[in-house]
């Protein structure tokens, strides 16, 4: 299985980390919970759930660190029965990223921490500056949106806002 990335510059460093640290799952995400790269998951929606939880753990640990220590906790480790989880933050030119990884007895916390440092350095070097691109969608996306939501919810085509359900503010 190969690591998969939403942005190409993430893919090689993440794959190297997975191979070297011998982890079972790895997620690289924005602190807001948006996935940048993943290894070990088979469904996109499962990736999103893991990202949401990982981002939440990281964010709450950071806030707890500020309360207790005056500084955010940047790394966190959980020992489960069969698997262990390591969560840590890496600063890049594209902003802070969070790594969430799970591993079993094939690896160890020390190994994961060592290769996380390498991943962090590789990401720092590989990160391109942010690029502002043009509009992604054409102006007629509403028809596709209506069709998609209607299909999703097993309905006939939904009315446009203003036709039903919504109203103009009275103020």
């Amino acid at each position: 299985m190969r690591a998969r990335a939403a942005e190409a510059w993430v893919e090689a460093p993440l794959q190297r980390f997975v191979d070297d640290a011998r982890v079972q799952f790895a997620l690289l995400l924005h602190p807001s919970g948006q996935v940048l790269g993943q290894f070990g998951f088979t469904r996109a929606v499962d990736v999103m759930a893991a990202c949401a939880l990982g981002a939440a753990i990281h964010a709450s640990a950071g806030e707890l660190g500020k309360e207790l220590d005056g500084h955010p906790f940047r790394e966190l480790y959980h020992a489960g029965r069969d698997r262990q989880v390591f969560i840590a933050e890496a600063a890049t030119a594209r902003g802070a990223l969070v790594l969430l990884t799970a591993f079993d007895a094939e690896s160890s916390l020390g190994l994961v921490q060592v290769y996380f440092r390498e991943l962090r350095d590789a990401l720092q070097h590989a990160a391109p500056p942010p690029v502002e691109s043009g509009p992604a969608l054409d102006g007629n996306f509403e028809q596709d949106l209506n069709r998609s939501l209607a299909t999703l919810f097993g309905r006939a085509q939904l009315p446009a806002p203003g036709d039903a359900g919504s109203h103009s503010p009275s103020a």
Partner: protein, 210 residues
């Protein structure tokens, strides 16, 4: 801004349901979850107390399919409504691409609605987000309760909707207005992608799996 992958033509948007405690945010997500086929949704994650009050957030990932050639996914979140979960709300709001403000239409809850709206604005400002630019819709929930217990939509508009954003009457427990609300915020969020750019690298690979 939503995460856009131009190479694989994928869009991921984060939408947060905000509002006072017991206004019906989680009920919205439960209803959506119950309607969407399994192959278009992920597991609904609820971090709740033993009495089913939202402790951290609820989370529901949705796959909308292709929109203008982009495979589009939404991440729906709720925040805990109770006043003392202020710091948690702020964390969940981070990186939001759109907000649904779920107001409780009951007359006795008007002050809580206003306080929660002020809290939303304060938290957006703390994240450095432009409150006026953030896609926002209002949902006036519990409009199915007896008339003498609730405010009508005009009164709620006067109290809450000073931006003049789309507002939807709803009874989320039975699904009334839930889809219309989701459609409303979806359109606002995606419209931003049809009129402005999004931070992304031009050369990208695939992150998710299907």
């Amino acid at each position: 801004m939503p995460l856009v992958n131009y190479a694989t033509r994928e869009i991921t948007c984060k939408i947060v349901y905000y509002g006072p405690g017991r206004s019906g945010k989680t009920t919205n997500l439960h209803y959506i979850y119950g309607q969407v086929p399994n192959d278009r949704k992920g597991t609904m994650v609820s971090l709740a107390t033993q009495t089913d009050r939202t402790l951290f957030f609820d989370f529901l990932p949705l796959d909308l399919g292709s929109i203008s050639g982009f495979n589009t996914r939404f991440q729906l979140y709720t925040v805990p409504g109770q006043v003392y979960y202020q710091s948690t709300r702020k964390l969940v709001l981070q990186g939001a691409d759109g907000v649904v403000f779920v107001a409780d239409s009951q007359a006795r809850q008007l002050d809580e609605n206003i306080e929660s709206m002020q809290d939303l604005h304060a938290n957006l400002a703390e994240h450095g987000m432009d409150v006026r630019a953030m896609p926002l819709v209002l949902q006036y929930n519990k409009q199915d309760l007896p008339r003498d217990l609730i405010h009508n939509t005009a009164t709620l508009d006067d109290a809450l909707n000073f931006r003049g954003v789309p507002a939807f009457a709803a009874g989320a427990l039975h699904g009334t207005g839930v889809f219309e609300t989701l459609r409303g915020i979806s359109e606002l969020v995606l419209r931003r992608l049809s009129t402005s750019g999004s931070p992304a690298t031009p050369s990208t690979a695939h992150a998710g799996s299907r």
